[in-house]
């Protein structure tokens, strides 16, 4: 019998410092990633009464509340579109982003067994929890279409750009999610800080108010918040309205930095996960 010796050799040794993500390994094990996404989708609304309806209820209820309090009572107006439509457009991305951050940051700690008893690329755990939320994002975007028909609002050619902003949102949510999930393994403080950060985030992103409420000299600074640019751009492409290219540009840069930085930071932190989780 011929010896079928395969020259694949895996060397396990201590690592120090920064390492790039192992793309080959991730590609080879992508099937597990799909399964983890599928698991998170299946499990998320188990034992809930309303199930997947929560995907639309969350932004829809927030839209109603914002319309009553900020539009009717506080008098915040828009630069054209009806306020409910305006608020909902922002909420579609914001809900996805904030849910992603809170789900991802708790994902590793919530899957301790997977970290300490079996090996696969650890990035799968936080990323799968975000991947599972893409379904909710899709559902809430379908409702956006319904709302646009309801308000007889017409789209423009700018619509073709909207996927860019969705991708930017996914990248920044992934980057932040990776960083926070890794930090949470070591510092459980993250668990308490995240809800607060998300609350803050809502106020520094133009979800409730249009960009004209922000003085022009603060716009670039605002762009450091990736969601400021993504929401502005998404809204402009879907329902029209004010566009601020410098702000959106800064936000795209932040998205890219967050994503790449998140991957590297995670890789660095991941080596100790099993020892300290």
């Amino acid at each position: 019998m011929a010896t079928t010796y395969k020259p694949i050799e895996l060397v396990l040794r201590p690592h120090k410092g920064w390492q790039a993500i192992d793309v080959g390994e991730i590609w080879a094990t992508r099937e597990l990633f799909n399964f983890l996404v599928w698991r998170d989708v299946k499990v998320r609304y188990k034992q809930t009464l309303l199930g997947g309806l929560w995907a639309v209820l969350q932004p829809l209820l927030a839209m109603l509340i914002f319309t009553v309090f900020f539009n009717r009572l506080a008098g915040i107006g828009t630069d054209g579109p009806p306020y409910p439509l305006f608020a909902y457009t922002g909420l579609v991305l914001w809900t996805f982003f904030s849910n992603s951050i809170s789900m991802a940051s708790n994902s590793l700690v919530g899957n301790q067994v997977l970290v300490s008893k079996v090996y696969f690329p650890r990035v799968f755990i936080p990323l799968a929890s975000i991947g599972a939320l893409l379904l909710d994002l899709l559902v809430s975007m379908l409702l956006l279409i319904v709302l646009m028909f309801w308000y007889h609002w017409h789209v423009t050619a700018a619509l073709i750009w909207f996927p860019l902003y969705v991708i930017g949102t996914i990248l920044s949510a992934s980057g932040l999610g990776l960083i926070l999930s890794g930090l949470n393994v070591r510092f459980r403080d993250v668990k308490y800080a995240v809800p607060f950060l998300i609350q803050m985030g809502l106020f520094v992103s133009p979800v409730i108010y249009p960009l004209r409420y922000v003085p022009a000299r603060f716009r670039l600074l605002m762009g450091i918040n990736p969601m400021a640019g993504m929401i502005t751009g998404f809204r402009a492409s879907v329902i029209g309205g004010a566009m601020d290219w410098p702000l959106v540009g800064v936000s795209f840069a932040t998205c890219a930095v967050l994503f790449v930085g998140g991957l590297y930071l995670f890789r660095r932190m991941e080596r100790r996960f099993a020892d300290i989780i």
């Binding site: 010896t3 010796y5 395969k6 020259p7 694949i8 050799e9 895996l10 060397v11 396990l12 040794r13 201590p14 690592h15 099937e31 597990l32 399964f35 698991r39 299946k42 499990v43 188990k46 034992q47 067994v113 997977l114 970290v115 300490s116 008893k117 079996v118 090996y119 696969f120 070591r186 510092f187 403080d189 080596r271 099993a274 020892d275 300290i276």
Partner: protein
């Protein structure tokens, strides 16, 4: 052909208790930052070096090679570094020093049913777990029926796993793992769970696996399984590799030099306050154990079959403890629990709420174990929770004696038991009538009464 696994000078260091707590709280890190800033400003030297004092080497300078087709057993007491070694080999944690070269597809089974989600059904979990352990979806699909049949869970496939009994859970978990086809299989102590019949089935599957020319690394406390299953054996002790030989040698070495290495070998009394066999995270409440036979004669590690044995345990109780249970477990050197003597089994209790130092004696009128070496573990349970557990508290050798009074010392099986044989009178008798043969000569007296 190079070895399929090469381990070179592998070491793994873990921070120990205090050092770890210090490192892991954000507040502590901030405080430490302030302190070191203060030291810089005030010119003070830091107190003590953090170097090795706060660390433990769980694996220390271990080197070995495994060839394709080897079935390797790894034995050692708790905390010897077996699990850490497997965790490094399975890539769960990185070594601190040294390296490992793997030249084959590996699957590791450190726990049964890893990644099972309680809300998913059996069917769904088979796929999830299979893919997690390294199979492709198509492989799971192809083996699905086999897996289900092996687990004997056909009827519960579409039931959520959270409704499974623990036995069913383990069966499903092992069934998935048993159908992996890696070149290297790493298994950690997973057979310690599940019922006997299923354990046997798993061992059968594993030996099949080994005979198929694949490489197996197997950690177990079950010496019989190691001896049966493996050709090669490694013995780890305090993180170091102390023996690399045949499985038989490893088991022998473990039994004679490690498991029975107790300071109490030639004495009847052992101090357990700093016993090495105390399990992790246990409170050091059990203080002393001593053995006596009839009439307070000390037992120095040797006892004839069927002799009386008194086990005296001294332990400390927190103030006003209403509910405590002190337990002595008898295990053979295969790690099999033979029996457990518990103070809570005592029908005529003369104690209730107690505080402070206690001394209790367990009186066994006749220790009916077959000749061989045994170890005694001591446990203290307060209000149904285990607070102290000392493994290998003392070793005891039961020596041959004429228990049945026939000149034939019993030496096989696990225990001896008083029993009688008689002719039921329904068979054919030689010469006499069957009824007459049912005489007194068939009755025997037992040696026990003479002791």
């Amino acid at each position: 052909m190079p070895p399929i696994i090469e381990v070179q000078h592998l070491s793994k260091k873990y921070p120990l208790g205090a050092a770890r707590a210090k490192e892991d709280s954000l507040r502590a890190i901030v405080m430490e930052g302030f302190k070191s800033a203060w030291r810089t400003v005030s010119g003070q030297k830091p107190a003590g070096s953090e170097d090795d004092s706060g660390h433990i080497w769980s694996v220390r300078d271990v080197s070995f090679e495994v060839n394709t087709g080897d079935v390797l057993g790894i034995v050692g007491v708790n905390g010897a570094g077996k699990s850490t070694l497997l965790k490094i080999l399975s890539r769960i944690t990185e070594p601190t020093e040294g390296l490992v070269k793997l030249r084959g597809r590996m699957a590791s089974l450190l726990e049964v049913g890893t990644g099972f989600h309680p809300d998913l059904t059996g069917r769904e979990n088979i796929f999830l777990n299979g893919v997690m352990l390294g199979m492709t979806r198509h492989e799971v699909q192809a083996k699905f029926d086999e897996i289900v049949a092996f687990a004997e869970l056909e009827r519960f496939l579409d039931t959520q796993v959270k409704h499974y009994s623990s036995g069913m859970y383990v069966r499903l978990g092992f069934a998935v793992a048993a159908h992996l086809e890696p070149e290297i299989l790493v298994v950690d102590e997973v057979l310690a769970v599940g019922d006997m019949a299923f354990q046997k089935k798993c061992l059968g599957k594993m030996s099949e696996f080994g005979q198929g020319g694949r490489t197996v690394l197997f950690v177990s406390h079950n010496m019989a399984a190691v001896e049966n299953l493996c050709q090669r054996g490694l013995v780890l002790s305090q993180g170091k590799l102390v023996l690399d030989g045949s499985a038989k040698e490893a088991v022998q070495y473990y039994v004679h030099n490690i498991a029975s290495r107790s300071d109490g070998n030639n004495t009847n009394k052992v101090d357990l306050r700093n016993a090495p066999g105390r399990r992790q995270r246990m409170r050091s409440l059990i203080q002393e154990l001593s053995l006596y036979s009839a009439g307070q004669r000390p037992v120095n590690g040797l006892l004839p079959i069927g002799a009386p044995l008194k086990v005296r345990v001294k332990f400390e109780l927190p103030p006003s403890t209403p509910d405590f249970d002190i337990r002595v477990n008898f295990l053979n050197l295969f790690g099999q629990l033979i029996f457990t003597a518990r103070s809570s089994y005592e029908p005529q209790r003369t104690w209730d709420t107690r505080s402070g130092l206690q001394s209790f004696t367990c009186d066994i009128p006749s220790l009916c174990l077959t000749p061989g070496e045994y170890r005694l573990d001591v446990a203290l349970v307060l209000s149904n929770s285990l607070v102290d557990y000392v493994e290998h508290a003392i070793a005891l050798t039961v020596i041959e004696s004429d228990f049945y009074g026939t000149g034939q010392p019993p030496n096989i099986g696990l225990c001896v038991m008083e029993h009688h044989w008689s002719d039921s009178g329904e068979g054919e008798a030689e010469g006499r009538q069957a009824a007459n043969s049912e005489g007194n000569e068939a009755r025997r007296h037992f040696a026990k009464e003479g002791r």
